[in-house]
Assembly symmetry: C2
Homo-oligomer: 203 residues x 2
Amino acid sequence: MSLKETDTEQIILNAAKEVFFKKGYDGARMQEIADEAGMNKALLHYYFRSKDKLFEAIFNDAFQRFVPKIVEKMISNISIEEKIEAFVDNYITVIMEVPQIPIFILTEINRNPERIVGMMKKVGMQPDLIIAGIQNDIDEGKIIDINPRHLLINILALCVFPFAGKPLMQIMLFNNNPGSYHDFLLERKKEVSQFIINSIKNK
Amino acid sequence: MSLKETDTEQIILNAAKEVFFKKGYDGARMQEIADEAGMNKALLHYYFRSKDKLFEAIFNDAFQRFVPKIVEKMISNISIEEKIEAFVDNYITVIMEVPQIPIFILTEINRNPERIVGMMKKVGMQPDLIIAGIQNDIDEGKIIDINPRHLLINILALCVFPFAGKPLMQIMLFNNNPGSYHDFLLERKKEVSQFIINSIKNK
DNA sequence: GTCTATATCGGGATAGAC
DNA sequence: GTCTATCCCGATATAGAC
């Protein structure tokens, strides 16, 4: 939980992250994590008691490292266009470093929604504030009249989906060329915010 | 594979669908499927030899029943606005009947991409044709200049995401009220196509 | 074709030596 | 703190009676 902890503990966490991200909770094997970490299963239990506890450590860490980074831009004082640009750019940048996060979190959302909701509250996620902010911009005529919930989900959808469906998209649309897909994701930073702003700006 | 088959076989398939959709391959248990079907595990193996084969049956069925319904609208002769409206409406309508499908397929995309690609080919999915069609509309000035791949993925994203993230959204944005979320999804049929068309139409 | 009983194995977890 | 050996349960799969 603190900064340093043991070296071994960190090695385990890194290995566990690798495996849990790729296989999900049910698909992951303690043996595989041990192999990845270059040690034996017993040590994993020595440090984390159970698979469940180890998973929780990974999940909490990923979540707390991830969500705040993304949300911070949602509540600053800049204009809504800038807000959207900053959010999308930020979001895609952060996920590109660990592209398995979206499917990992989506899976968890469906496997164990309560845990996610708990984490959301814990990191101070306040969707109502975001909704209210959007509504405010609508009332002031800065953007067209739209249900703020739709807009919020649209923004998230456009950011998340290309990562969640990456293996398929990369094959079907980019001849399975990772470089091309990488470039495509980079392009989306501008493309997505442009797409959104196009749609909601008042003319 | 054919229309009727045994009654028992159908019962098993229905039960398996239920469980696999909810838990995914790794999370599903043969015992649970047997319970759901009101019989014992041995019978499942009698009819489908292995968990893997049973899963494959479910997956192929879901996929073949699902994708063609959705894609058909993508290649007709109507205008691009109508095409988008028809596609989005159709897509959301179809998924609302089996809302677990998106996360189920997304999980499989990440667990076993090759299988999905194979299925895509098998049902005659031709993304290149769709891309070309979009490009054509751009060239004719019917919509703004946009990378067709971005547009295609945007459309899919806006349709799929609210289902993949449903448990969380329902709780965080709708006080965990299924009725409200249901209405919200219905609204999206118009909302999403409007959002897209707003963004890409030439002014 | 459907059941009960059982084989077999994999994986999470613990004991105990070092 | 790290290892090997082992326990033990749960899950897939099969044998065999009916």
